[in-house]
């Protein structure tokens, strides 16, 4: 007679003594995870270690009117402002379009309809387009086509040249999928009961979306916005030909002005410096500034998203 207890103990791997395969498998995969975290840690630590000395309040608020390759005088204020401005402009465009698309996909669209599938396919594809291709697109569409079209007949090109406006629009196209996906996720996290309750009280569908669904989804929408800002803040390839300037005396004042950019400046300092050893401290400090900007945004986005996901699990 074998009792159920003995059967289960026979099938339980823990009773077989030391299981080498299990140990090895867990060890190898665990080490791989550790290795990734280690690489991330090394990158961050290296930048902080070498950049900390030069990174100061004066560095952050210093202008570009001084020599940008001089360790004692160089500052990143124009680049920080340029990056902030282009990201702000981008957000103004991408947030409404992205949120409305997500609202359509979750609240209105019939998920099996062909249009819906094509929209989803387009969003996924947009997310995979190489950043340099966005740069080409910005040049070919915004600058050559729209810009030169607006300039038609003018003696001096005003719109048909690289500008902060075109860089921001290019980045808006690039970050559109991020905003859509994050907003969609938070819209789906809202229990249908909330919508049903609103409708049962006599609200129309539009009222329900505007007054119940969207406020409830705000954290997720913010996550999308923050992710987009974090991603766009560090991107260089799309702005290479659409607006970033090697050097500018003044800050951008009009949407048609070019701008200096933090990420582009990292590229300049690492590849076009007259004396790489001398400018190394500026380079590391600039990278530190860029990383502080993008990583803090990413961290916030991750924390907000974790909250949204917990809520979703609790709600369902």
């Amino acid at each position: 007679m074998t009792s159920p207890a003995t059967i289960s103990s026979k099938l339980d791997f823990r009773t077989r003594g030391f299981d080498f395969a299990s140990f090895a498998f867990t060890g190898v995969t665990g080490l791989a995870t550790l290795f990734i975290l280690l690489l991330l840690g090394i990158i961050l630590a290296n930048v902080v270690w070498h950049g900390w000395e030069t990174f100061s309040w004066r560095f952050l608020t210093g202008g570009a009117d001084q020599d940008m390759f001089d360790v004692r005088k160089a500052g990143v204020l124009p680049m920080v402002i340029g990056t902030a401005l282009r990201v702000l402009l981008m957000t103004l465009v991408v947030l409404p379009v992205g949120v409305i698309t997500a609202v359509y996909l979750t609240e209105y669209a019939n998920s099996t309809a062909l249009t819906t599938r094509i929209i989803r396919g387009a969003v996924n594809n947009l997310a995979g387009v190489p950043s340099i291709v966005f740069g080409l697109f910005g040049l070919g569409f915004f600058i050559s086509f729209i810009g030169r079209g607006l300039d038609a007949g003018a003696a001096e090109p005003l719109w048909g040249k690289p500008a902060i406006l075109w860089a921001s629009l290019t980045l808006a196209v690039m970050t559109l999928p991020l905003v859509i996906v994050a907003t969609e996720e938070s819209l789906r996290a809202i229990t249908p009961g909330l919508r049903e309750a609103s409708l049962a009280l006599g609200a129309t569908k539009l009222e329900t979306i505007l007054k119940i669904v969207l406020p409830e989804a705000l954290p997720g929408i913010l996550t999308g916005g923050i992710l987009a800002v974090g991603r766009a803040g560090g991107e260089v390839a799309p702005i290479l030909f659409t607006g970033a300037a090697y050097y500018m005396r003044d800050l951008p004042k009009a949407p048609t002005d070019q701008f200096m950019d933090l990420g582009y400046h990292v590229f300049i300092l690492s590849t076009q410096s007259p004396d790489i050893e001398k400018t190394r401290p500026i380079l590391f400090a600039t990278v530190l500034a860029l990383l502080l900007l993008t990583m803090s945004l990413n961290l916030v986005a991750i924390l907000v998203r974790a909250r949204v996901r917990r809520k979703m699990r609790a709600g369902h």
Binding site: L11, S22, F25, T26, T29, A32, T33, F35, I36, L39, L40, I43, N46, V97, I100, T101, Y104, L105, Y108, A109, N110, A122, V123, N124, N125, G128, V129, P130, I132, V133, G135, L136, F137, G140, F141, S144, F145, V173, P192, R195, T204, L206, G233, G234, E235, V236, A237, L240, V266, F267, S270, L283, V287, L290, T294, M295, L297, N298, I302, A306
Partner: protein
């Protein structure tokens, strides 16, 4: 959500609340507006293709001539040309041609003669490097010191636009990146999704995904300033920046992509699968390796495909860490030049609308098509996986 979907014709979306445009005109208008805005994504993909391909079109159709030496016709033959023939001879667009008076045209003809006199005399000067035959095929250039038959050399007296060195460069860096990133990322995905304790998992996933937040220009900087010297000391190769360094740095950009998609795919396998295996006495790793991984195989494959798409499209890392010499060589330790880096480095200097400019758009269009196809494939595979796990197939 498990509510049955109302599929009658007049209802759209959730819960079938839709009263048509007569009952609620404002609602109807809003819905139409929302629908049109949501078409932006489709429009953008379309516009990207059209406007990148548009600039490349003259090259595709073989209408550009990059030859440094174009023989000038004697005056009596020029006089015999039709207006269209004259326009072609001077290389003008219809609009430009229409805006010129006789005197201007005469002076352009003179300029053309001068050019022909001063053009380089080498036998290669008459070759149109922008023709397909020279874009892809070999040519024994007479001034090539190394005897290379595949040459990308857009500046200089004679323009050579062979794309093969660039394809090889992209292939090499992508291969290194995938060989490095895929095993690491997949192992980590298995660990995080299947083996780690839930509390640990909550921390590990976002921590690994934080790597995706490091801008690619920073990864490029890291490859160039830190890893290049470190790896050179370790492996003792000659050229400091090469396909290997760039590939490893590129791997850092690929890891988060492969990790998150594979992790999602593994997590989406119903718990019942692994629980059944565990109940039958499998150990945790056996359940993960023999049950969950095969069930999620399409998703894992999609992760690799999308990682590939990311690797061939990444620009700044390769631009900064690969050395950018367009040599045809299969050695990983030679300096190399990829498609993306070429566009980034050269477009600013290319003459607007010239052959160099258009060829850079052409390789951009090729890149777009390549990533479009990989994304489409990855997408379809993920769809299949979802259907399969939901028991629809």
């Amino acid at each position: 959500m498990s509510e049955p979907r109302d599929t009658t014709k007049r209802t759209v979306g959730w819960m079938g609340i839709h009263r048509g445009h007569r009952a609620r005109p404002a609602e109807w208008l809003a819905e139409q507006g929302i629908f049109f805005v949501s078409l932006t994504a489709i429009l953008m993909v379309f516009l990207i293709f059209v406007f990148v391909a548009r600039e490349a079109l003259p090259i595709v159709l073989g209408r550009m001539d990059s030859a440094a030496h174009r023989p000038a016709l004697p005056d009596e033959q020029v006089a015999l040309l039709t207006p269209d023939g004259l326009r072609d001879y001077l290389g003008l667009t219809a609009k430009e041609f229409a805006g010129l008076d006789k005197e201007a045209i005469q002076s352009l003809i003179e300029v053309r003669k001068e050019e022909a006199k001063e053009a380089p005399k080498s036998p290669d000067a008459k070759i149109n490097g922008a023709a397909w035959r020279y874009l892809l095929g070999p040519h024994p250039w007479s001034d090539s010191a190394t005897g290379d038959r595949y040459v990308w050399q857009p500046v200089g007296a004679i323009h050579k636009y062979n794309l093969v060195p660039l394809f090889i460069g992209t292939l090499k860096t992508t291969a290194v990146a995938l060989l490095f990133a895929v095993p690491v990322a997949l192992a980590a995905a298995i660990y995080v999704s299947q083996l780690a304790r839930p509390t640990l998992r909550e921390w590990l996933k976002p921590a690994v995904e934080l790597l995706a937040g490091v801008p690619s220009v920073v990864l490029g900087f890291f490859g160039l300033m830190v890893m290049a010297s470190f790896l050179q000391r370790g492996f003792g190769y000659e050229s400091r920046l090469n396909a290997f360094v760039a590939g490893i740095a590129l791997g850092l950009a690929v890891i988060p992509v492969v990790f998150s998609i594979a992790e999602d795919a593994l997590t989406s396998v119903p718990r019942a699968y692994s629980q059944a295996a565990l109940a039958r006495g499998a150990s945790k790793w056996q359940a993960a390796w023999q049950i969950v991984l095969p069930a999620a195989a399409p998703g894992v494959f999609a992760a690799v495909v999308l990682g590939f798409g990311r690797a061939i499209g990444e620009t700044m890392v390769v631009l900064m860490a690969s050395g950018n010499a367009s040599i045809v060589s299969w050695s990983l330790f030679d300096s190399t030049r990829s498609i993306t880096a070429t566009i980034a480095a050269e477009l600013a200097e290319a003459v607007f609308g010239g052959h160099h400019y258009r060829i850079l758009f052409l390789i951009g269009a090729l890149l777009f098509v390549a990533t479009f196809l990989t994304n489409l494939a990855g997408d379809l595979i993920m769809h299949r996986l979802k259907d399969r796990l939901e028991g629809k197939r």
